[in-house]
Each structure stands twice: as C-alpha cells, then as structure tokens.
Symmetry: C2
Subunit: 319 residues, 2 copies
C-alpha cells in the first residue's frame, strides 16, 4: 500500500480552464499533483454561497487524498480570485514590488475545517487600464529566482497565452504592463471566422510563421488585410492549411511584438508553456532579439513557495 501523501502545504494554480494542485514538501518540492475544473466551468450562473460551495467542492476533489485532521494552508493564484471566482482577492496597483504579494493575500472562508486557503492578489494599472491575475505569481517566482543576494532583477518579461502579458520589471517590481489578446484572437479567427476552414488543426509551417511575424512587425497596420489574404490565397492558389496556420499565428505574434515596442537588442524573458515559448523565441530571433525561456509551472511554484514562506514567517502558521 502506498504511503499517504501528507504535504506541508498545498500550491494551487486555478485559472479559467484548469485547476492544478500540488502537494508541496517543506523545500519547494512537489510530492503529488491533482487537477480539477477551471473557474469558467464553476462560476457560470451561480452567485454567492452556492458558487462558493462549487469552488470548495472542486478543490476538495483535487486535494482530499492529501488531507489529514490537521489544517493545511493552501496558497492559490489565478482567476479563482476574480469577481466571478471563489473569493475576490483585489488588485495591487503598479508600480508594485513582486516581493509584496503576501501582504494582500485574501483569506478564503472555507467550510471544511481542514482547509486554510488564501488567494494571491492580482496587479492593476490605470494608465492605460490593465489587469493581471495569475501572472503576478509567475513574475514573483521569476524575480525570486533571478535576483541575487544583493541585487534584484530588471528587464522585459513576456508571458504568452490567451491574454499575453508584457511586463517591464525594475529592481524586482512591475512598473508597467500590457496585455495583447493574441491567443484569444487566434482561437476566434481559426475556429469561428471565415478563415476557419482554411487553417489546419495543429501543424504550422515555420517559414510562413517567420515571414508573417516580420510582415506584421514592420507594418502592424496590415494585420487584418493580411489575415483576409490568407483566405484569398487558399481560394486562388489552393488550400494549404499548414501554411495558413503559420501565417495567422505569425501575423498575430508579429503585431504583438510591434506593440511591445522593444528597444533594439533588448533581451526578453519568456515565461510559459515550453512549446509556446519556443514559438515566441523563434519570432524574436527573426527580429534579431534574444530570449531566455522559463517554464511557467516552475515559476508559479516558485512564486507560491515564496509567498507561503513569507506567510509562515508573518503569521506563524504551521509550515
């Protein structure tokens, strides 16, 4: 019989589409993983107490095998802290030190006495208006890992995805950020627009991707014309879904990179799913820019671990 998993604490990355739970040891290591429904499937329709019960049940489904009689701390980040989530965790304004997130943790009133859940706040900006929720924890992991004993990190960080974030970090603080709707537009265009039947389901021509990155980067005003041209090319020159997917993806990423207003030679740190980060690094390479790639899951766990360690120190909760 397997020995029961008894984590020191539990890390939870709970976004719109997935709940990912990690049973953590005392040194930032992962003892076991669990998963469950994302916020999108839990928040629809219900309000108040019944919605909160849905969230607690989904969490228990993922972590119950790890629970004992002794209460355990859970540090959660992501859309679970939004207004439509389990419990609103608010936003900290920019400029914001990424070492400060622990100070604004929201304590979630769970019915199950074995759970002591907290949610990490998001970060907001008013000029121009923008919000992030979940990415602040990855950024906290990044500055924690990249900062030396006496220095803290600065630079441009991109977190590609449905809503790609571009953050300007100075001395361990986010001073400005923006959000490109690249992933969401890609999904809408390839699944619901007139291009849906022109684009392959998966494979992507990397030469078409690179050429389209350059075209949209150097002339972002051409974006929507160039998208329609993908459809026209299919009609006039024969359908090539793999090439079409490369073009749509490249055009959107190229326009995003133009919007990021990178300085010549400015290095970029990419944090996210490895496959997506590789695509972005190829796009940046086409522009002659270097990128460092960091795994998004590792950064979430590092950020949540630091926040948990601060919580233990400040509140003397059980570690």
């Amino acid at each position: 019989m397997d020995e029961a998993v008894r984590p020191h604490w539990i890390a939870v990355d709970w976004g719109t589409t997935h709940l990912r739970a990690y049973a953590m040891d005392g040194q930032g290591g992962v003892l076991a993983r669990g998963h469950g429904l994302g916020m999108g499937a839990l928040s629809a329709g219900d309000a108040g107490a019944s919605r909160q019960a849905n969230f607690e049940a989904a969490l228990l489904g993922a972590v119950e095998p790890w629970l004992s009689d002794r209460p355990v701390a859970l540090i959660m980040c992501g859309m679970v802290g939004s207004r439509q989530g389990w419990c609103e965790a608010g936003y900290l304004p920019v400029p914001q030190s990424l070492f400060n997130l622990c100070e604004a943790l929201a304590e979630v009133p769970a019915k199950d006495q074995r759970l002591t859940p907290f949610i990490v706040p998001g970060i907001s900006q008013t000029d121009p208006y923008d919000v992030m929720r979940g990415e602040e924890t990855q950024l906290a992991g990044y500055v924690s890992q990249a900062s030396g004993a006496n220095s803290t990190v600065s630079g441009r960080v991109c977190l590609p995805g449905t809503h790609a974030k571009w953050a300007r970090v100075e001395s361990g603080a986010v001073i400005h950020f923006s959000t490109a709707m690249t992933g969401e537009l890609f999904d809408l265009i390839t699944e619901h627009s007139i291009l849906a039947h022109s684009v392959s389901d998966d494979a992507l021509d990397s030469e078409a991707f690179r050429d389209s990155v350059l075209a949209a980067y150097h002339d972002p005003a051409c974006l929507t014309e160039a998208l329609f041209s993908v459809r026209a090319e299919g009609l006039l020159a024969g359908e090539d879904g793999v090439r079409a997917r490369g073009r749509v993806s490249g055009l959107l990423v190229g326009a995003e990179l133009a919007g990021a207003k990178l300085e010549p030679g400015e290095p970029v740190t990419l944090i996210g799913a490895p496959k997506l980060c590789v695509a972005y690094s190829e796009a940046l390479a086409a522009l002659g820019l270097d990128a460092a790639l960091l795994d998004g899951e590792a950064m979430v766990l590092r950020g949540l671990s630091d926040i948990h360690a601060q919580l233990v120190e400040r509140r003397a909760i059980s570690a």
Copy 2:
C-alpha cells in the same frame, strides 16, 4: 385587385446573409422588391444538384409573383457566384476595367424555363492575394455614375462591412484592392471574446469612437492591447457598455484606416449602408479627410443595370 408586376428584367444582390431581388423597369427603376435566404443558409452540407435546387427554390420564392410565360433575364451578383454558391462565376484579375464585367458573366442552368439567370464575376488579385465578390458590381455602378461623357473616374473607394474593401480606381478600372476584416472581427470580439459582457448591444459613444480611431490610426500596433484595456477599464472604473462599444469600434476602424495608407488630404468615396458610411466618414473627418457617401443599394442597382444593358446589346436578349 393589384396589377401584376411584370419586370423587364430582375436584379439580384445575393450575399452570404441575404437575397435581395428587384423587379426592374426598362429605365433602371424598381417596380417591386423581394427577399430570401442568403448563401450561408443554402450552401451548408449539400453538394451538386441538391444544392443547386436549393438556390433555385430560394430565388423562385423571392421572384415568382413577377414571372409570366415569357423567360426573364436575372442579373445576380455576390456570394451566389462563389464555389459554395449556386454556380461558380470565376474572378477577373486586376487591373480590371469595371465596364468589362459583362464579358465574363456566368450563365446559370436553371430548371425553371421562365428564368434566364446570369451571375457577375468577382475580381481577384495575386500580389497580395485578395478577392472581391459583389463589391465589383457596386464599383461598376460608381464608375458608371461618376464618369462623364468623355472622362472616367479615379480615386480611393471604401466599401465598409463584414469584409471592408478598399479599392484604388484609375480611369474606371480597379488597379489594386485590399480587404480589412473589420466587421467580422468586431462581431467576434463583441459577441464571443472576453469583451462580450463589457460592450453594449447597440448604442455607441461617439467621443470614445473618435478618440479610439485616432489612437489606433497613429499606433496600429496598440490594437490588441487597447482592446484588452477596454475590458480592464470595465473592471477597474466600472462598466460603461456604450463607451466600450465606441472604443472597440473606433480601434478597429482606426487600424483599418492606418492599413489603407491614405495620402494626406486624399478624398475617399464611401459606398455602403448609410449608417455605416456615416460612421466611417466621422472617422475620416477625425483624421482631417473628406468623404463622399454613396448608398450601397443604389450602386448595386446601377451596376447591375449597366451590365444588363450591355447584355441586351451583345446577346440581343429580350429587354
């Protein structure tokens, strides 16, 4: 009892969403109107003969009260001539005189002997790839109306819509054109993206529209970031759906105008639905550019009337 409508010929504008039929007298006047299903509702699933029967039935539903024993010519334009339509009408390449469309009419094999239907060809371009279908007939109407006895018209023409066309016309010919997916992206974003709940169903703040036109025109790379900012403003400053709709519309139109690469002071002719043309003329005015507005339906009928007159001349069909 009403006198039966007996048209000299029938004009048909048959796009993706609507069939519009017009019983025409011999002088370009409209005796009566009919309507029916667009190509999108007729082409799905079926192929070959059964699809053709669907189209013929839809047409008869719109025009049958006007038919007598004597065959009548129908001149049709729009997506009815696409590969998924009733009968493919092909494309004429740019540069292309808009007085030549009659030469490439496709004759449709109708089962009902009372119908003698023809479809106007589209126009294609290979550098970059682009296609139009339906707009060529509006452009033909425009050059017919705007050309004097001894001169033909030149200028920039915009036909706003789901897929907005920008044509460069010289001496009555289309020499280059492009297609911005503005209308389709607006619908996808306001109905299916994270912005869906931030945007009002109808009313639009015209100051937000104008400001956003200018922002996207001067920095089209900001487009997707600015779209997400509409959502963030709703979260942080309170939802204002009328303002949000103005911003989304203005950002997309401003990016389209940047893509059109207009010369300073270059006048634009707008052809389309009056309300949409007014919005575009306001956007152009914000950039200091003048616009002439022409009704899209009037241009279709003028273009189809000219094509019919040429057909009568060349083939000696009954007028």
